[in-house]
């Protein structure tokens, strides 16, 4: 079939071999082909960050990458942060405690971006947090509680158990 390519991708630790069309976006491959619906689509110009995933450790916007470009890569989506029935991670728990989630649509991208920040900068200032999240749009929270949640997770002051 013209324009179709075979790719091998590892997502959340699982290996997949699939055929994709040349123009298929990575985010559509993740959502529609693999059924991982936690990664969302919020715009068509790469501005909103709802599609944020980790690719070979880097933080990327999966709507700005073709599925064929992910051949041979290791990806992590929000589903990969913890097993489906497991407890929330401390960062996720902080989002809950600080009420940093309203509609939840930006949340997977925010959590991935925040965890990427905390890996590199375990004690970020408020400004550093805002800069790290500037690629993730939220329309519900005004960002205030999201910043608080990341600060709480950084300082380890997170209540356990929801």
């Amino acid at each position: 079939m013209a324009g179709a390519h075979a790719i091998k991708v590892t997502i959340n630790g699982e290996r997949y071999e699939r055929t994709v069309l040349a123009q298929e976006l990575l985010v559509h491959f993740i959502r529609d082909t693999l059924g991982l619906r936690g990664t969302h689509i919020g715009c068509d110009t790469g501005n909103c960050g709802a599609c944020t995933v980790r690719c070979d450790g880097r933080l990327i916007k999966s709507c700005m990458m073709l599925a064929v470009q992910a051949d041979g890569c290791e990806l992590t989506t929000v589903e990969g942060l913890a097993p489906p029935e497991a407890e929330l991670t401390p960062l996720q728990q902080a989002f809950n405690t600080e009420h940093a989630v309203q509609c939840g649509y930006c949340t997977p991208g925010m959590v991935l971006a925040a965890s990427y920040l905390l890996e590199r900068n375990p004690d970020p200032s408020e400004h550093e947090i805002r800069r790290a999240l500037k690629g993730n749009i939220c329309r519900c929270t005004g960002y205030q509680n999201i910043v608080r949640a990341v600060r709480a997770a950084a300082s380890g002051e997170v209540e356990v158990g929801v």
Partner: protein, 819 residues
């Protein structure tokens, strides 16, 4: 003026108190944090086809010819539809507007293109990419027509007419006249005249776009609709007659929605179109709006122009009222308009004791995207205008802006306060809220900073006072069109005990992130004396299994009143049934039953008790042990409709009680303005809210943050710009610049709780925020510009506009005449 007639409302506050009022973390969060939410695009039906709408590139054009044959021939295309086909298969949509706009004939697709983005055809295909490519093969011969893009111009009979059957672009016109403005203008010590104020076009752009998956099952006749539409029952009432189906055939549901803010209220044309193509193709039709499509065609907030504003003021600073002409821009179609033409009058005098108000209101249609409700719907435009007036009166007549407001505010002792058009402000403390807001920004310190000055920068301090009117009386629609069969309001809920004593609640609301599952559980736990964790609340909306009324949905700042009181009412009915059954089983009087911790006991005696699982058992599976008169009178599945006490407003005098509750938000900010670039940096931002009794303070505060974020974004970053030809210049997130975490500053908040005497739980609806930041930031920019500066007359102040104001280039004329 008469004192307001107040109906005695039985308060249930004494029954709430263990969990109501506490900041419990949300139960919704777990699935959302783990990516286990179910949004519309996450939903899938066997054999579904993907739909792409072909949208007009022209702002105004006749369609001479449309030919879908090449698209139909493409392998993988399941069906196409054009407007002409639709006109044969359905009736035009029901109209809210009176004559002449009532003559509009509108089908789900457009027979004539009336705005750039108007959907003229649709394709359903195997994949979304194929549907889009196939749409390119549809041949449309357009005959472009001149476009009108200004609401004031559209009122001129010489301007191009969008809907020929109407004969003009008039959506609605009316005069609101209260008190005696001519007397006031003649007898005032001063009259301040403002040539023009303009409230700009923007929307809340929820991060998830609109979407629907519709399956018209020819076998059962059911039309299954999975959609994140915000007001499903309104859409149902419009769509049913149009599609020729019964209400019980339309099954609406969704689980999670990525934000609404009013923008997802008017999706019924798209849903109806999907229903028709689903029926044609014999497959489920799936449509997920993409962002450019959303910005182009979902809907935009009301754009309103105020002209010839006259404000009579007494020497002591008492503002008597105002007179003006207002022009509202409805865009190309009236999907929920012209309701906006009356909804602003819920807050006719704003936060103030103005007695004389005259508004000559005209709403016109233009070749732009149709208007939809947008967070603060129609009130924020009006409230912004009033704050600009008050700000300008202070500046031009040399009154202190804080004192002038405090003096003219509705005072705490005035409540309940009847406004000139018969609305009743329930409770509040505006002066107190202003004091708190000023202290959040360290007002005195800010004035010091301003005096000290700094090279190339100017400091400005701004105030914005606003109301969030909630739980509206739909009877106000009759002021727009006396023939509309709507009045009152309400919401439904069921609370039931399931087979093993589990407590389950269904709501008729359609949440978009406000935490209904958590807050309903809090109040039900209080009524039934269990833990909130024992109460499960349905996620999202589901017409088939939840109770609903014609008003069911989530909009207009009312959940804390309508939805919560419906849940409370249903829980109280269930409690009464539990007690009745318990008394029968334990052989005592109902008055001796104590319900606590999931157990009904005789006066607290744990030896003489029955747990909820036992109550459920004797009703559901063991009913021979109950006396027949008890068994026949309980179901343990209790429905309750909360109905706020409204009467029908009077369309003749345009008077009536239009909203039940009035939350207050007073904001203050300190900005630094750069003289060279016009950029505005917010140094301090304080927001004080008063929404009566708060059910979950953390959730309330989250709404305040969000509404403030939207307001700041609109004030400084977000505005839809159309070219004179009607082309939307910023139809993507590059140029429609949505605020990021770097654009919204740290927000300091405080609160007051003035319980509403009109609601059983003392709460007031909130969430829209009234757009306070727009007024606050305009006020601060005006302050920074200094004396003799031109008027900040637009609600949107990009750095370019501020730059022009600094150089005296923009002006809307202000003059003051004094006796």
């Amino acid at each position: 003026m008469t004192r307001a007639v107040v109906e005695t409302i039985e308060s249930v506050e004494h029954e709430l108190g263990r969990y109501t009022g506490r900041s419990l973390p949300r139960t919704e969060d777990r699935r959302l944090l783990k990516g286990q939410g179910q949004f519309v695009d996450d939903t899938w039906m066997f054999r579904q086809g993907y739909v792409h709408f072909l949208r007009s590139p022209h702002a105004h054009a006749n369609i001479r010819r449309i030919d879908t044959s090449k698209a139909d021939a493409l392998p993988g295309v399941y069906a196409t539809m054009t407007a002409a086909e639709m006109a044969e298969r359905c009736e035009p949509f029901f109209r809210i507007a009176p004559d002449p706009a009532a003559r509009i004939v509108e089908y789900p697709l457009a027979l004539k293109a009336r705005y750039e983005g108007d959907a003229v055809a649709m394709v359903m295909a195997e994949t979304r990419e194929l549907a889009r490519s196939a749409a390119e093969l549809i041949e449309v011969e357009y005959e472009p027509l001149p476009a009108v893009v200004d609401a004031v111009e559209a009122a001129d009979p010489r301007s191009p007419v969008l809907h020929e059957e109407v004969g003009s672009n008039l959506a609605w016109q009316g005069i609101y006249d209260y008190g005696d403005i001519d007397w006031a203008l003649e007898n005032a010590d001063h009259v301040v005249r403002i040539e023009r104020l303009h409230f700009h076009r923007f929307s809340s752009t929820p991060l998830e776009c609109q979407g629907a998956l519709v399956n018209w099952d020819l076998g059962t006749g059911q039309v299954e609709i999975v959609s994140n539409i915000q007001f499903p029952m309104f859409a149902s009432q419009v769509m049913g007659p149009s599609l020729g189906v019964r209400q019980d055939q339309l099954l609406w549901r969704y689980q999670d929605s990525g934000g609404g803010f009013g923008n997802k209220i008017a999706m019924y044309p798209q849903v109806a179109a999907l229903a028709l193509i689903s029926r044609k193709a014999g497959r489920p039709a799936k449509w997920t709006e993409y962002r450019s499509e959303n910005l182009l065609s979902c809907g935009m907030g009301n754009e309103r122009t105020f002209l010839d504003i006259e404000v009579p003021v007494m020497a002591d600073g008492t503002i008597l009222g105002f007179k003006l002409r207002a022009f509202d821009d409805a865009g190309a179609y009236l999907h929920y308009e012209p309701l906006g033409a009356v909804i602003w009058s819920q807050v006719t005098p704003g936060c103030y004791r103005f007695k004389h108000v005259h508004v000559d209101y005209t709403e016109t249609m233009t070749n732009k995207c149709p208007t939809v409700p947008n967070r603060g719907y129609s009130r924020l435009q009006h409230l912004w205008m009033i704050e600009r007036i008050v700000d300008t009166v202070a500046r031009r007549l040399d009154f202190d802006p804080v004192q002038l407001r405090k003096q003219n505010y509705v005072q705490p002792e005035d409540y309940p306060y009847e406004t000139p058009n018969g609305c009743v402000y329930d409770s509040g403390d505006l002066p107190g809220a202003l004091d708190k807001a000023l202290s959040l920004i360290d007002y005195d310190g800010a004035r010091e900073l301003q005096k000290r000055g700094s090279a190339g920068k100017r400091i400005g301090i701004g105030i914005g006072s606003t109301l969030d009117s909630g739980t509206n009386n739909f009877g106000q629609a009759r002021i727009i069109n006396p023939d509309l069969p709507f009045s009152g309001n309400g919401e439904a809920a069921t609370v039931k005990l399931d087979l093993y004593g589990e407590i389950y609640c269904t709501l008729g609301t359609s949440p978009t992130g406000q935490g209904h599952e958590t807050t309903a559980a809090q109040v039900i736990a209080d009524i039934l004396r269990v833990e909130p964790g024992d109460v499960r609340v349905n996620a999202g909306f589901n017409k088939e299994h939840s109770a609903y009324v014609g008003f069911s949905g989530t909009y207009a700042s009312q959940f804390a009143v309508t939805g919560i009181n419906a849940a409370i009412g249903a829980a109280r009915r269930l409690r009464a049934e539990i007690i009745k059954v318990g008394a029968a089983v334990l052989g005592c009087e109902e008055a001796d039953i104590v319900l606590d911790g999931g157990v009904a006991s005789y006066r607290g005696d744990s030896e003489r008790a029955i747990p909820l699982i036992g109550i459920a058992n004797v009703v559901y599976a063991n009913n021979a042990v109950l006396p027949p008169e008890i068994a026949d009178s309980v179901s343990l599945n209790c429905r309750y409709v909360y109905r706020p006490p409204f009467q029908v407003p009077d369309p003749e005098t345009k008077r009536g009680n239009l909203t039940l509750t009035y939350a207050i938000q007073v904001h203050a900010c300190v900005i630094e303005l750069d003289e060279e670039t016009g950029q505005v940096r917010i140094l301090q931002y304080g927001a004080v809210d008063d929404c009566g009794r708060r059910i979950n303070p953390q959730i309330v505060e989250g709404q305040v943050h969000g509404a403030t974020g939207h307001g700041i974004a609109a004030a400084l970053h977000e505005a839809f710009n159309y070219s004179p030809e009607g082309q939307l210049l910023n139809a993507n997130f590059y140029d429609y610049r949505v605020a990021t975490a770097l654009d919204i500053p740290e927000l300091k908040t405080d609160h007051i709780e003035s319980p509403s005497p009109f609601t059983p739980n003392g709460a007031k609806g909130m969430g829209e925020g009234g757009g306070a930041p727009l007024a606050t930031i305009c006020s601060a920019i005006q302050d920074a510009l200094g004396p003799d500066a031109p008027l900040v007359s637009d609600s949107h102040n990009s750095s370019e506009r501020v730059w022009r104001l600094l150089r005296g280039q923009e002006s809307s004329h202000v003059d003051v005449s004094s006796r």
